[in-house]
Symmetry: D3
Subunit: 250 residues, 6 copies
Amino acid sequence: MFSHQADVERLNDAQMRALLASRPVALLPMGAVESHGEHLPAGTDNILARRLAVALVEKLAGSVPVMLLPLLPFGQVWSLSDAPGSFTLSNETVTRIILEIARSTKAKGLATMVIVNAHYGNAAAIRDAQRLLKEEAFTLALFNYPGADIPTRAVREKPIVHASFMHACEIETSYMLHLAPEYVRMELAISNYPQFPADFAEIPYRWSEFSASPVLGDATAATAEKGKIILDAVINRMAELVGELYSRQP
Amino acid sequence: MFSHQADVERLNDAQMRALLASRPVALLPMGAVESHGEHLPAGTDNILARRLAVALVEKLAGSVPVMLLPLLPFGQVWSLSDAPGSFTLSNETVTRIILEIARSTKAKGLATMVIVNAHYGNAAAIRDAQRLLKEEAFTLALFNYPGADIPTRAVREKPIVHASFMHACEIETSYMLHLAPEYVRMELAISNYPQFPADFAEIPYRWSEFSASPVLGDATAATAEKGKIILDAVINRMAELVGELYSRQP
Amino acid sequence: MFSHQADVERLNDAQMRALLASRPVALLPMGAVESHGEHLPAGTDNILARRLAVALVEKLAGSVPVMLLPLLPFGQVWSLSDAPGSFTLSNETVTRIILEIARSTKAKGLATMVIVNAHYGNAAAIRDAQRLLKEEAFTLALFNYPGADIPTRAVREKPIVHASFMHACEIETSYMLHLAPEYVRMELAISNYPQFPADFAEIPYRWSEFSASPVLGDATAATAEKGKIILDAVINRMAELVGELYSRQP
Amino acid sequence: MFSHQADVERLNDAQMRALLASRPVALLPMGAVESHGEHLPAGTDNILARRLAVALVEKLAGSVPVMLLPLLPFGQVWSLSDAPGSFTLSNETVTRIILEIARSTKAKGLATMVIVNAHYGNAAAIRDAQRLLKEEAFTLALFNYPGADIPTRAVREKPIVHASFMHACEIETSYMLHLAPEYVRMELAISNYPQFPADFAEIPYRWSEFSASPVLGDATAATAEKGKIILDAVINRMAELVGELYSRQP
Amino acid sequence: MFSHQADVERLNDAQMRALLASRPVALLPMGAVESHGEHLPAGTDNILARRLAVALVEKLAGSVPVMLLPLLPFGQVWSLSDAPGSFTLSNETVTRIILEIARSTKAKGLATMVIVNAHYGNAAAIRDAQRLLKEEAFTLALFNYPGADIPTRAVREKPIVHASFMHACEIETSYMLHLAPEYVRMELAISNYPQFPADFAEIPYRWSEFSASPVLGDATAATAEKGKIILDAVINRMAELVGELYSRQP
Amino acid sequence: MFSHQADVERLNDAQMRALLASRPVALLPMGAVESHGEHLPAGTDNILARRLAVALVEKLAGSVPVMLLPLLPFGQVWSLSDAPGSFTLSNETVTRIILEIARSTKAKGLATMVIVNAHYGNAAAIRDAQRLLKEEAFTLALFNYPGADIPTRAVREKPIVHASFMHACEIETSYMLHLAPEYVRMELAISNYPQFPADFAEIPYRWSEFSASPVLGDATAATAEKGKIILDAVINRMAELVGELYSRQP
């Protein structure tokens, strides 16, 4: 359990002082509370973000010093905000939270923070924070499953619903089957390929306006093995990126 | 494990719909990342808030419908913000987070949310949110260990440091020994009675200006039994309050 | 009338230049417009803050240079905001006002400002300003009747209504009988001990929800002598604190 | 002393209820803390606003119900902000203060508030508030010495410095000699006709950049009689305007 | 077409680098979309601002380096906001836009920006920006037809409606007949002298409350020659002012 | 010149009233001031947005009523903000501008506004506005060259630099050669295929950190014909979308 040595919530002051002295890269997992249909729970993004972050810490143990902050469990959920399991923050509030945690981290003498993000809706707010912090000489990195593209193309069996959007689908369900199978009820998994409105890119639609389920894709095709193949690649790539960020610190 | 039936992060959409139909009282645990010296970890307030909330859900199982939201792990930490394990949000951001989660909850048809708060520094920001939400016909309750006063006076053996402030002391350490003993290292517990500045009420002091340790009180006097006595009373009182809030819902 | 020599509103530019050259401690009295029942007027807090500040200036005359700013007559009034004589600002606006006056004061070369506050509802907003100004290397002190506790316990004859709240009661009415008797109509004084709701600490209540009168306590027990005993102690303690703040200036 | 019957700070709850029942026009005097040279004190605008408002209340006694709020003593002071007796708020804060007091007044059932303003620098911020409140169906009137133009042209003996700006001059000093002679030191009055920069309308200049004194005009020509002639006209016009505002209330 | 050499929208990077190296004064034309009755279009202020700015650039060609930014076509339109051709921004947004463009300009190494403003309603928001930028050591100048007063008095044949307000009148229509005759339909020009409310200075009135037309004055008296006389003087004065601003740059 | 009949800047009040009575779809073109290298000017996005919007109006003439607002010439430019021809607004300010223009448009009785956007950097800020306006029952559509994908794949001869980013490249230069050839200097066109950093998706990079030129792609391959093929498709698709938006209006 190497991750315990990096987990801020478990450390006392002496341990924190020692950890800070190593100038670690801070890791902030971030998810959302959002409906994922019937086979996955509303906390799916939080569960994934937390476990991915822990896996990353384990991977880096002994090579790159990192500091694991607690997960931010609420994110920006707009497209599914009227679904029963969704609770949302505004983009502006998400940006503020990240800015303030980053500044607190900088005040401890650190120079780099990575957001291990499992919820796509957070990305715009995080990007605003990234740019503002760059002016303050602090590096904020955003990890949205880096390194997933190639293995995903390799393992995917079912078509995608939309070039940019998928949800609770073959891929995300595979992540859960690999990292958190106890939360998955495959007997309730469905395949759902709604027709997106022709002007979906131009007009703001909540998904409930064109889809009966929050699932976008074919969850029945998910397997733990697919999840493992992709996420092993993701964890490797994340570890590589953190190593580079660490080595670039002033 | 009744708490699973109320835990939003574990529920699928059908379960969430059923839960919402019962018009539950929403519970939002709230802590902070804050130094607690050497015998308690920086996540102490988060650990306490989460476990207290779970205990409350268990207590209410079968009698009052509740909906457990994930813990907000960052809070307003000013007095100890320069200690190694402290990371802070501003009061204004804490207020915004709570307002937005409450409005999201209201949009689901609910009328009441309770904050199970284990970090005193959050109280002012929560109070601002309580008053604003009252104008919006939504009840936000704040639980700061309700019902603790009488049993605390009964079990306390060591003097308090200050009428309003204590930290990582006989009482809080007893809470941890009862609810989360695996995080406590009693061999590092100390007694610390710093001299507060005579103008402490008038001038803003960070505690590091007058105390070598974040501990304020005598942690060595803590026992799991003291924690159990107080927290059993707290959980009873919280359950009673939630029951009343539920019965008063329009 | 020594206070005239410190009263910014009465000084011309030459006098202001001379006063600023002495690096005085700035004093900002602060009250509120708030109902005080039938025996005290809505301006009670303003009258008390102004007279206390003048008394403090007189006390310090010849020993510690001070600069008296005009009274801020509007404050944060929530608990009694629906009473006929109450007019309120938001916490955020109160904080902004104080920050801007403090920065204006700092721009004149001064390093310390004291708020002589007679309205408890202002305290949270002032505290936010205190902390922000500390980061800007400016000391903002908050005086909420410092030194009152011991003499109050000595002279009080009637029980308190609540550990934290009292209003237009034995004590505050005694202050007015001592400092501003021409505003008091003792023939209308009442004793009012309403039952606070059991969940008063958890839920935001306006006082009108449980009390027919804004009076919280027994105003009939007030005497000018009680007021004098307490306020003499308060003025002594304020003078002592200002002296210390002055001597600590960089 | 009719004004006492309208002065919120002096009224108890029964009196406030009776006053509110008459649907009075609220009066909010507003000044500033600003250098006025050597012959007038920094509180000049506050003194004038307060006394003008009291004179207006006296004038209206028995005919139009009015409610006198306490004076707002800090205003927006930019042009003279670097003078020794000047302390400033931002336009945005001034607007917020007025909006919140107006909304508090509206919550009491009133429909009209008049700002009796003696500091020209407040006008832009007040205007923003006027327009916002109009959308909220609340009338906010701004009185900047209404009715002064004709009598001023009649009594003025000395040239003006600038079409839009004058300060501590023949006219303002005459106001003080009439309303508050105890604050005027005519032996220190000067005549000051600085050369305004040719691009004064285009570039933001503080007055200290082109004038050795805050006096803009000839204060030596001031007399109490001039002040009386103008201000009697102003008070008459203000009374007339308040009467019309009252009669137009819904 | 000298103006092309200064027009940012027409320049490539090499040209921009060369222009910036000359430390030009930046010019930002600013208008509004606002009803101007029947004889002038809603874009009148934009057309005037753009053409005046181009004329200024032509005038300065070869003598003072300037950089022409694109026109800001939306401004603060309150008085006529309910007229059919009016679209408005808030004062706060106008101030923000200007601050951000100025800071972007400063980041390029420039020290001075001039707003060539053809819409009076923008002035208050611009003034706030001027003062804030002065604290940031950046000069923002505001040109509201400088130099127009004397020639206007010389050519004007018809009375003015109000000391401060005129609109789509003899003068503004003359400007259009001179600079943009293709947009003017003199056959629809009218003379309109509405009665302003007696309390127009004290109460916020939209013009529709007292005038059937947005025209304030006598548009039928407009001629291209009057426009030319005034605007030649304005352009000369603007050129002179820009020259001075350029020579004062640090 | 049908577009004149829809162009707000050219319309008088009678024309605006008639246009508004037809309940037109409002069109707001939006670009940016941004470096485009040596062969295209800094105003490229503004020129394209304006001409595309005019072409759309012409296309719709006689079939769907539209109202053309003036172009917003400043946008959010971050990636190239340090290039010589770039001037930027913040995302927050862009969102505010759009919200306020949309609300002004709604106040005229209209229900739909389309942003004809030629600058990709504006999209995030526009999306925030879209979502907020949806809650206000106003439809804001965003057109980022809709319908361009298929014809682009058909005519493109050179590879793309990056899946999401291209700039002043084969495609955009072709747009300019078709719509605004007088602004293009093909003799300065270059091909530029910089190596994007491997962590470009994770870390905020300004393009100057990895590319010597703002050109991203091969501008030398641009032709007017390619531009025509794509933009004819875009204009057709835009016209179709506006027709649908019009027909869906309540």
